[in-house]
């Protein structure tokens, strides 16, 4: 893989000028926000439930190394084979080795963001193994040759006319129809055969329970169940942060995740996989593997504040409520994880030198943190990453300091000098009141501001002056 680099402004420009894309996102996000709101009418319930959810995740992270060891021991005792990978390249190699050893030619995939992060499909394809996505949304974007634009609803950027056209073009015998039931039936028809002839299934994991050695996988379609049950081999891939201490911890998180994500009280299916097929059992994979991927997560873990990023349960509520994401869509974020969580996760996994513009592509409005079911303080972490980009304080962040520039440090140095000296400030304010409005609109910053706004008008007298004149500053004590 060639190294990717974020170009938020450039990609946003393209997205903002695509009215269809913008309409698709606006409609989808409005719907998702309304559905989520309907799930949490009781503020008290939301408060106690999310406090529990956040604590459960924080506890698991506090004991992460021990829990990973416990998970590995439990799974191994259960007959599941556990692998570890430091990088996505290593994880791809592990998966490929397992598949090759089993003589696998055809893979069916359940939805998994971690395998997107690994670009696994391309790797398998290059090695002669066909991997077919089976989540309807993932299948659609695979047909279209695109990447997901949302972590829960991968093809949310497309409308049904675009999908109808794609199906008519790519699926044999399919005529153009915008009827969603017919489109869904067409996918079912094609994918049923792919499930039946697959030699292996690959899935993600929502929660890995250390106490019992159980992999929890939630979904609505049944593709996750099929991928992990019908083929003789199942490989689950997950980030090392997905571990939970106890089985009971699944309950509050399950009550948070689908309600936050799609406004469903629960997903249609909640899979709990603990063993491969046991003697006497008639179905289920004969071998189950779990690949634990690090890819920078253990580095993130090294900073206690930034490690809150790892609490994420991938519900996507943050992007559904993000006014920036809503307008520019998921592809603007270049990397696998879009939206507010992507803006804090990507720069940490890929480096601030590759994605340093992402923490700045936010108004810090806080809509994300308000709905985060595990209370990740996203705006604070965005601000923290902005700091790491210019003056690194932690070894945890890749590419720290890469955003430093002389003009910027001089600018903020000057700003601080001005605003930390009452006398200099008052003099400047007076001068701005007298001459500020003569500033030409082509000056940097003013130029961007006035592209769609009128020039702000300096008042002739500052509040400092008016307050003094009106006697509000006589008795300062």
């Amino acid at each position: 893989m060639e190294a990717l680099k974020s170009d938020f402004g450039g990609k946003a420009h393209v997205a903002l000028n695509d009215p269809k894309l913008r309409a698709n996102f606006r409609r989808a996000m409005d719907g998702l926000m309304a559905k989520r709101a309907a799930q949490f009418p009781d503020a008290e319930e939301w408060k106690t439930l999310r406090a529990r959810g956040a604590a459960v995740r924080a506890r698991a992270l506090a004991r992460l190394p021990e829990l990973l060891e416990q998970l590995e021991a439990k799974l191994t005792a259960n007959g599941v084979i556990v692998h570890w990978a430091e990088t996505t390249a290593e994880a791809n190699a592990v998966v490929l080795d397992i598949l090759k050893a089993a003589g696998v030619k055809r893979v069916i995939k359940g939805k998994s963001m971690v395998t997107e992060e690994m670009h696994l499909n391309a790797h398998l394809e290059a090695n002669g193994i066909r991997a077919v996505e089976s989540d309807l949304g993932e299948y659609i974007i695979q047909l279209a040759g695109q990447a997901p634009s949302h972590i829960v609803m991968p093809c949310i950027h497309m409308n049904k006319a675009e999908i109808a056209e794609l199906f008519a073009d790519k699926i044999e015998g399919q005529t153009y129809t915008e009827n969603v039931d017919e489109l869904t039936a067409a996918a079912r028809r094609v994918l049923r055969d792919r499930f039946a002839d697959a030699d292996a299934g690959i899935s993600g994991v929502n929660f890995a329970v250390a106490e019992t050695g159980t992999l929890v996988l939630i979904e609505n379609e049944g593709n996750g169940r099929l991928s992990t049950t019908l083929p003789p081999l199942h490989i689950a891939v997950t980030g090392i942060e997905k571990v939970l201490e106890k089985l009971e911890d699944v309950a509050p998180l399950l009550s948070l995740l689908p309600r936050s994500a799609t406004g469903q009280v629960v997903t249609t299916y909640v899979n709990m996989i603990s063993h491969p097929r046991q003697p006497g059992e008639k179905d289920g994979p004969k071998a189950v593997h779990l690949v634990l991927l690090d890819n920078g997560r253990s580095k993130v873990y090294g900073d206690v504040e930034l490690a809150d990023t790892l609490r994420c349960i991938r519900c996507a509520a943050c992007m559904n409520h993000c006014p920036v994401y809503t307008r520019v869509g998921g592809h603007t974020y270049t990397f696998t994880y879009p939206g507010p969580i992507g803006k804090i996760l990507t720069p940490q996994l890929e480096g601030l030198d590759c994605a340093g513009d992402q923490p700045h592509a936010s108004t810090l409005c806080g809509a994300c943190a308000e709905v985060c079911p595990v209370q990740i303080p996203i705006p604070d972490l965005l601000a923290r990453l902005r700091t790491e980009a210019v003056s690194p304080t932690s070894l945890a962040v890749k590419g720290g300091g890469s955003g430093r520039s002389l003009s910027e440090s001089l600018g903020w140095g000057g700003w601080a000098a001005l605003y930390s000296s009452p006398r200099v400030y008052r003099l400047s304010a007076r001068l701005l009141g007298l001459f500020g409005n003569w500033m030409p609109a082509w000056l940097p910053m003013l130029r961007q501001w006035t592209s769609v706004r009128t020039k702000p008008k300096f008042a002739a007298k500052s509040l400092h002056q008016l307050a003094r004149e009106r006697g509000y500053s006589h008795d300062e004590r």
Partner: protein, 217 residues
């Protein structure tokens, strides 16, 4: 040479220790007398059909339901009590043909993937809060029964309907007894990936029929 595992664990263990927050109080909802009503309402909202049936009557009720849907081949678990009751009740008359799941999937794949139209399984328990069925597959009642046929019929004992997942896990002692695969089912297979429009039966069953078995109903 150290392994990836060791290097990852060393990094994690060398990170600053952090405080463990307590699990703050949280209680899943309780429904008391309204438990079955809630269970039923949630499942129906998720597009499932729910019938309350007496223990002795369900095979006949199911025969009528499936006949109305034109079902002719039904997958069943011959070695379970439910399967035996069904086979016995449907032996005579014009009931759909019962197809036993009695060999491994490798031998039965074509039948399961393409031929049977419906299946009958049992649920270990039901969860009122979310309208979920707890399927706990066994060698006699395998996993794919509830997944491949277009219509899935589930029997759940009224007395086994509980308030919440948290309660169910605790009362039934799941943590000490997780099976190969347990699954919560809360409706027919569905998707909203195309323009957030709901469509049913994308990969799993298009219809879910829940028979709530009571000794009185």
């Amino acid at each position: 040479m150290t392994s990836a595992r060791d290097r990852i664990l060393v990094r994690l263990k060398s990170a600053p220790r952090r405080t463990m927050p307590e699990r703050p109080d949280w209680a899943a909802p309780r429904y008391g007398e309204g438990r079955v009503t809630q269970f039923r309402a949630m499942l129906e909202a998720a597009h499932a059909d729910v019938c309350e049936v007496a223990r002795a009557d369900w095979p006949e009720r199911l025969r009528v339901i499936l006949a109305n849907k034109g079902v002719s081949r039904v997958l069943f678990a011959p070695a379970t009590a439910t399967g035996r009751q069904l086979a016995e009740a449907w032996a005579a008359g014009d009931a759909p043909k019962l197809v036993p799941y009695d060999r491994s999937i490798e031998e039965m794949k074509a039948v399961l993937v393409h031929e049977v139209q419906a299946s009958v399984t049992t649920a270990r328990s039901g969860i009122a809060q979310t309208g979920s069925l707890v399927l706990w597959p066994t060698p006699d009642e395998p996993r794919l029964m509830s997944l491949l046929p277009p219509i899935h019929v589930v029997l759940v004992d009224k007395g086994n309907i509980r308030d919440s997942l948290a309660e169910t896990m605790q009362v039934e002692g799941w943590a000490g007894s997780m099976p190969t695969n347990a699954v919560l089912v809360s409706g027919p297979s569905k998707t909203a990936d195309i323009e957030q429009t709901l469509a049913y039966g994308v990969h799993g069953p298009k219809e879910l029929i829940v028979l709530v078995i009571g000794d009185d109903a």
